[in-house]
């Protein structure tokens, strides 16, 4: 794509002027982040992808409100987070399926695919069981690499709240993570 190497602000300005190729470059750059964020908020992957699309579309229509002096990512992800939360409210998406009752204290047994899946599932369950804001904060911090201040901007909460959310989320995830890693280190 010809816009490779162009700054976000320049791409946003081009897109605002109607350049769909420039906007496509922004979608390529931020698509995975937006989709992961939406999946953090919505359980259903298809629903999450639709929400991420909604977010990009809203961003396209309101590019005039983007401040080019600031990073594009937090501005976009705030829109995506709102789109996902809005979709969840409208569709009343709920996770109803019961996941396998694997506990964090479980000692990894024989290295089987079933164990690997169960331990991975336990971590996924622990993640899903977190309050939504904690879940979103830890994903944005530990996976996407945003700072506490940027996450506070995305979620519209004080920075101290983000620090607290990340701390509590990590604490809740470390149990299942230890079991999963223990299995991996045993040769799984």
């Amino acid at each position: 794509m010809r816009s490779y190497g162009v700054s976000e602000a320049e791409l946003a300005a081009l897109a605002h002027a109607g350049d769909r190729e420039a906007f496509g470059e922004l979608v390529t750059r931020y698509g995975p982040q937006a989709r992961r964020l939406a999946r953090t908020i919505l359980d259903d992957p298809d629903d999450a992808d639709d929400a991420a699309q909604d977010g990009f579309l809203a961003a396209w229509r309101h590019l005039g409100r983007y401040d080019p002096g600031r990073p594009f990512g937090p501005w976009l992800l705030r829109i995506v987070a709102n789109a996902a939360a809005d979709r969840r409210r409208r569709r009343r998406v709920r996770q109803t399926e019961e996941l396998s009752p694997v506990t964090a204290s479980r000692t990894p047994g024989p290295a089987t695919d079933a164990d690997r899946r169960a331990l991975r599932e336990a971590f996924a369950t622990a993640l899903q069981d977190l309050p939504e804001r904690q879940r979103t904060a830890v994903v944005l911090f530990d996976l996407e690499g945003y700072s506490h201040a940027e996450i506070a901007d995305i979620l519209g909460v004080p920075e101290g709240t983000v620090r607290s959310d990340v701390f509590h989320a990590r604490r809740a995830l470390r149990g299942p993570l230890a079991a999963w890693r223990g299995w991996k280190e045993q040769g799984g």
Partner: protein, 116 residues
């Protein structure tokens, strides 16, 4: 596992790897195409209306409303206010108070009482 504090300011690599595995999304050109396709559809009318109803417009409308109200007050004084002078001109007649459809003010009533 290392001990972490609430003041951690860097991502935890172990959590990062686990989250990446659980929330894995494949690089999907179809997603980009779908978004770009949707940008070709015009915005729904309620979004356009929503853009018009931005706070700036609302503030301007409020300003116009307040200005109109104040201007109206200056140009046409309220007709149903009974001044003490009206009663004095009427000669302090009690019938004036009852005959007038407008309510007398307190000063008029007090002034009337001191003359008896």
């Amino acid at each position: 596992m290392t001990v972490h504090s609430p003041f951690d300011h860097a991502p935890d690599p172990a959590i990062t790897d686990a989250l990446r595995e659980v929330l894995d999304v494949h690089d999907d050109p179809a997603f980009v195409r779908a978004v770009l396709e949707r940008t070709r559809t015009p915005a729904p009318f309620w979004e356009i209306l929503g853009d018009w109803a931005r706070p700036e417009v609302a503030a301007a409308l409020l300003l116009v409303a307040v200005g109109s109200f104040l201007l109206g007050r200056l140009v046409a004084p309220a007709p149903n206010e009974l001044a003490a002078g009206d009663v004095v001109q009427a000669g302090f007649e009690a019938s004036t108070l009852f005959a007038d459809v407008r309510a007398p003010d307190v000063e008029t009533l007090l002034a009337d009482g001191t003359t008896r």
